[in-house]
Symmetry: C2
């Protein structure tokens, strides 16, 4: 049996190997013999949606043995998957780029369309600045202010872009890791006043967790038809908890999609990703999904109300499915993280490697009702 | 029930949508109601290896329900999979780039490392010339001669590269679609005399189907340690019949691997691909695989002996798992293809869209012993 200190030291080694991301659960279990994880509150997914998708996967692919065909044969090509997704998201197929995980799409557009310079607000998902390295692109990091709980101030950001004569920019809404949400009208105004930029990359990977005023998904996806320089990024790992399938898509001007497909990305989806996209495009599946989406948002709101009552910690108001929390009780984020993991079997995200954060932060994912209670009790104990 | 002519017309429409590739089996079944395929002799895979892999998949992932974890959580990162593959293929991890199907790797190196010009012998796998389009790279197609059954003449190719001052080149060994095999010593001599080229891309996706003099796999993979400009491409869909998983890898100078990973390709493998690579790296699995590899090669050789006896067709001698066959009985390749598919339920590859072929050609994949007999009987009937 490893001691607490030994576990901490193994974890730190694994973290080092994972760069600016968390070590995968698999690698943790491989390296830390007696590890137990009751709640994975690092992984940002809706467990109810995972359950829903798995019930179909089980009855349609596994019990029928059809999964073997899905694994054996070539999956559909990019354009063909885009065609079936098109009717579900109400965007023309020619504007859809299917990606092997949103991160492949992010890489594709950064490498192909971003020249000269790009503005990236921090804290953020690290790939936005890591993937423009060594490409001759100047990356301007825009620091969100701690006083404003790291919420992006669009008018200051706008001025920052103008002052530095930057030709591309990134906006994540709601933002990871803080969950801050930008108003639809403010975003449209921003788009209108920045039509001269080469690309505005709007990452809506977490937008399904924001409850719109009419419960709808407040996506700006349709706006790609109005703003030629707008690129909307959508991960699906978060909505469905299917990171192992690698599924995401990007919406953009059709010329950009054609450019990407003219010399690549033919078979970038796996057979399982193709199956997932088929379900995701299916009306009756989507209405079932809508139920668990709203159920999860409700649970997440209740979780926030609960977390707010904790002392020694500041929870940032979030419109996503996670909470950025500043530790105020003199412990470091790493100490809180390690105690949660090795004493309470709760895996959260230590944000000490996130640039742009000023203080001791952890990020806590909302999970099922029962799991949220476990997270709350453990946090209470540690703090 | 559709008539023969109606089926032909639907097929032609599907083919048009698939570019320079065959329509997928799934799309065929979707569009042609009463389609029956007894033998898929278009898909170039070893059915015995598929069976072997599936037996493990079934007992290790499906029956244990572990497949749900594989789908839910983030897969390992590129470097981590490379590490486990390293010992199996005896190439340092730092020289391995794990790809979401070999085609992603081909795209990566063509887009990142190929500048100015590239020589591509034809007939070939179309991505080698399609993926350098619109990138400012001049692509020189080198036509293999029909008289030589399209076998690449390395000394003429060498001269072609010099005469045109070309800076990169492609060699596929054995070549697709003809199965011609180049001698190891000739290839080494070619590498020695072209160390000034920026990149020599050697695609060994079918090398597992070539029986070396001591039954070993005659790969030049170790040579990447001797020739800095050598890049070896390896698909695994062919060896294992797992095209739906998307698994391949590339071997190259470590600086190139670092360059690719410095700004991308972090999570480009799916959870199932990670599982596959783990099996592929496992000693006892590999020894079981070695048995079915040799069994399949033996069947394929016997299939060739059988095909040779057919009249009205010329079968090119192949060291891979498929045969390029010229129709000499006045029928077109498309006619033979359609009759095989819609009258005998055998799906082969009509090569009429392959540039560099001069005549009426179909490509026939070797399958299991029983399936080969079916293909043979159908061909005999059609010819």
């Amino acid at each position: 049996m490893l001691t607490f200190e030994e576990k901490v030291s193994i974890f730190n080694k694994l973290k080092e190997q994972s760069g600016s991301h968390s070590p995968s659960i698999t690698s943790l279990f491989k390296e830390i013999d007696d590890l137990k994880i009751d709640v994975d509150a690092c992984f940002l997914s809706n467990p109810y949606a995972t359950e829903l998708f798995f019930s179909f996967l089980k009855s349609e692919l596994i019990e029928t043995q059809k999964i073997f065909g899905v694994i054996e044969y070539y999956p559909a090509q990019n354009k063909s998957i885009a065609k079936s997704l098109s009717s579900a998201i109400k965007v023309p197929a020619k504007n859809i780029f299917i990606a092997n995980g949103a991160i492949e799409g992010i890489q594709a557009i950064l490498h192909r369309f971003v020249k000269d310079s790009i503005a990236v607000p921090i804290p953020t998902f690290s790939s936005y600045y890591e993937y423009v390295q060594n490409l001759g692109v100047k990356c301007y990091l825009y620091e969100n202010s701690k006083e404003n709980d790291y919420k992006l101030d669009l008018s200051l950001y706008s001025r920052f872009i103008r002052d530095n004569n930057i030709s591309n920019c990134v906006i994540i809404n709601p933002n990871n890791p803080d969950g801050n949400h930008l108003d639809r009208n403010d975003l449209i105004a921003f788009l209108k006043s920045h039509q001269d930029l080469d690309n505005i990359i709007l990452d809506e990977s977490f937008i399904h967790f924001t409850k719109g005023s009419n419960l709808e998904i407040e996506s700006l996806d349709q706006e790609i038809l109005n703003f030629q320089n707008l690129i909307v990024v959508k991960s699906l790992s978060k909505d469905f908890g299917i990171a192992g399938i690698r599924a995401g898509y990007l919406l953009m001007d059709e010329k950009k999609v054609s450019s990407l497909l003219s010399n690549g990305y033919l078979w970038n989806s796996s057979g399982l990703a193709e199956y997932f996209f088929k379900k995701y495009s299916d009306k009756s599946f989507r209405s079932l999904y809508e139920e668990v989406r709203l159920k999860y948002i409700d649970q997440t709101e209740k979780f926030y109300d609960q977390l707010k009552t904790l002392k020694g910690i500041h929870i940032i108001k979030s419109k996503s499915n996670f909470f950025l929390a500043e530790i105020l009780n003199k412990k470091t984020s790493s100490e809180v993280f390690m105690e949660l993991l090795f004493k309470h079997n709760i895996y959260v995200r230590d944000c000490s490697d996130k640039i742009g954060l000023n203080g001791e932060y952890i990020r806590i994912a909302a999970r099922s009702k029962e799991e949220n209670t476990k997270i709350f009790n453990a946090l209470k104990n540690v703090l």
